[in-house]
């Protein structure tokens, strides 16, 4: 099955690039193995754990359920890009202060998922936060600290919004 490749061009974290990829290669394997963007993690490879969550054309997707060839012409954002742009800096700071990560393996996917919720604006309740991250498996924290951190950032962003 190996050997046959297709050409794709896409934008990853703001950089335009061309690649030859096997049609069977998943997006997350492409990001990790071909582009060395190892911040996106592989947990279950069947769409359950959410460790590979990245943003494609503005929407969060599972990097293990999407093929790299499906991203031809797409804009892909990974944790590396989200970090460098500063878009999720407040979330990352809150996760650090609240110890909302332990081993950190779920965290890049978790941050991308949470940002997807917070981008909508408003201050989601704890139930809503829990519901939104219910596709992101964290074995370490028990989730309570993550919900605390997200709630704190939502409140802080709302306060900043009001001042503007």
């Amino acid at each position: 099955m190996s050997g046959y490749t297709l050409d794709i061009s896409l934008t990853v974290n703001g950089e335009r690039l061309n690649a030859h990829v096997e049609p069977r290669k998943t997006l997350v394997d492409f990001l990790r193995d071909d582009l060395s963007l190892t911040g996106s993690h592989v947990g279950c490879e069947h769409g359950v754990c959410g460790a590979c969550t990245v943003r494609v054309n503005g929407a969060i997707v599972r990097g293990c359920l999407m093929l790299a060839v499906q991203c031809d012409g797409a804009t892909v954002e990974t944790i590396e890009g989200l970090s460098d742009s500063g878009e999720v800096a407040d979330l990352q700071k809150a996760f650090e202060r609240r110890n909302a990560l332990q081993c950190g393996y779920c965290t890049p996917g978790m941050i991308a998922t949470v940002q997807d919720l917070l981008k909508r604006g408003g201050v989601p309740g704890r139930e809503e936060i829990r519901e939104h991250i219910s596709g992101n498996y964290c074995r370490c924290t028990g989730y309570h600290a993550i919900v605390d951190a997200v709630e704190a950032v939502a409140q802080a962003r709302a306060r900043t919004q009001m001042k503007k």
């Binding site: 190996s2 490879e45 970090s83 650090e96 081993c103 950190g104 393996y105 028990g142 919900v147």
Partner: protein, 798 residues
Amino acid sequence: MKIAEDSPPTLAALDRPNSYIGRSVPRPNLQRLAQGRGQYVSDVTLPRMAHVAFVRSPHAHARIVSIATESVKKSPGFIAAVTGAELAKVMTPWVGVLTHLKGLKSAPQPPIAVERACWQGEAVCAVVAHTRAEAEDACELVEVSYEELPAVTDPETALDPKTPVIHASLGDNLCFERKLDVGAVDKAFVEADAVVETTFMFGRHTGVTNEPRAIVADWNASEQRMTVYQGTQAPHMMQDLFAKHLGLHHQQVRVVTKDVGGSFGIKVHTYADEMATVALSKLLKRPVKFVADRIESFVTDIHARDHRVKGKIGVRNDGTITAFEIDDLTGIGPYSVYPRTSGIEANQIVNLTGGPYACPNYRAQTRVVFQNKNVMCQYRAVGHPIAVAVTEGLIELAAAKIGMDPLELRRRNLIADDAYPTQSTSGLKFERLSHHESLAHLDAMMNYAGLRAEQKRLREDGIYRGIGFASFIEVTNPSAAFYGVGGARITSQDGATVKLDAQGFLSVATGVTEQGQGAEAVVAQCLATAFGVPIDKVRVTTGDTDNTPYGGGTWASRAAGIGGEAAWQAGKALRANVLAIAGAMLQTNPEALDIRNGVVVDKAGGNERLPLEELARVAYFRPDTLPAGIQAELMATRHYVPRAWPFAFTNGMQASYLEVDVDTGFVKLLKHWCVEDCGTIINPQLVDEQIRGGVVQGIGAALFEHCRYDDRGQLLNGNMADYLVPMAAEMPDIECGHCVSPTGDSELGAKGAGEAGTAGAPGSVMNAINDALRPLGAKPLTDMPFTPDKILRALGKV
């Protein structure tokens, strides 16, 4: 704002100026992980690195008739196909026994099956290729011919004469058994006013680390040296085992552990496929990488908790417990896992059952049998969740039977807080515990009386809520009594090496490891406090056998209590060295000086005398200006091992509040509380997060997690869609409380906190479900996990 502010120190005994003990300082490595810049083993790539995939047995028990690898060789990217027989020439097999578990036996286990596969998922052939995908493609072309053998799958019949013996050389399928009989148990049951007997079942489950097991082995033939990048909890233990089974010296093996994507006891064992990867690197003279995929994880990561326990309790009408009795049976797979063995879990159940209570009569028996299923071994809170659920389940059933409040029954039987030092009926030595203080704290924290009133009110509306408790004790800070005395080369001591650099900053290398618990933060806190620098001037190195003191790693809740104490002692030693130089430079008695906030000061008035940077400049670049005979020693190493007590027992109590939908059988967790006593609390936030994470792992066992096997030994749910884990939407908020009974074994007085949550959660959830359903006359549920269908069956609805 729920993010806790850093709180001031409260611990007078450790009252150094600028103390970080008792403060919630953030962990130093979190931005790296939060920004996706961690380096997990699955991220590691090396020049010339190849990937291995394994052909695994589809049968639970089969003779390997032949393995044909001819057609594989043309597969793209193919490098090598290696069978068990070929790998046996590079690596010796191992036997997972410990001499202090008397009579425990097991068979030699090879890295790849030779002649016979003993569980579904055991590797029978390795295929190495340039990429993992190519290795998997090539595996498809390996032709293995099997002759299926009868599979032993039911522990209940494993010892029957007509059941086949898995390893003929062992004579039977018994791995280990232990009996204990203390006091006058039969008499105590006769004298009881009520006796409750029931059977508890625990579903086999597993750790499901988010990052699967991962290893990169790099044999450098020119140096005759093996470097292993491994996601492990015990780098020095693995160094010893790789060396031993490859016939190398320790000096020829370096184990490097960077970030680890979850461990929980899963990554502290010897795995055949990881040993095979190391052997393959030696055979092929190039780096070889193996990362388990999720299905491989389910069929090869150690499982745990597959126990059937018949339990019995006697009580008098005044609530006095007269006796406990248990009969435990567990099936552990075809091999006792190396080197910690698969007898520890059962042994712990015998040791821990009834442990919080002052009841002089106790009888226990356990049998550990072999099966043709994946192996079982130590997973977070080893044995505790079972011992606690059995003890606490019996207590609540007994309380219901004599019509006493379950908290009151406990109050009348828990070992008194002023009874220490003392020991359990099973012989565990307790330095100091705080059961009654914990109970009182929990009672107040959860507003027990208020919840009971709410429960009663809601029942009138057909809403069934339950409150369940579980007291627990936890084994932490193990001394050599855990493994060393049994002949395992697993060290219980740990060390810290501290160095003052030329700018006055500190670096510390420690033998404990970091897998997310916060060991690096705790080590930095202890060192910064003992030495006297701001914590941001401390850099911690872990997980490298070339560059850290010899140590045990992080397991059995030992990193803070043992690694923290070693760092504390090393910090004090370096402070003394530095003050000796400062005294020489300032022509002052070193006794009159101290280091505070990175500056040498007068101990009495706190006047600043000398910045550390200046002292380091002189010591390193102008030693000629120091008085003759003065040699600066700006590096210090100290080790620590608990000696006064074999284990630092901790204790605590949990409560679960939940609602059962009696039409669907679904359980909604409303709230969970845990009060625990881990002695001195070095970092309150980290302790709380260990508790919370542990509680949720215990909830998983109670409600969701189960490795389901059929009677032919086939795992039926080896994926994350069918094997359920706790996800955010179903989990409750968890409130933590603390009592503080420091251990006198160390200066810090810290005990462990990593397993308390997992120990008590399953029992408290079980008790809450039964409390909710009691008015409906449901048969008590004692068969974990408590799935909706089991609940509906108990209610007689299906």
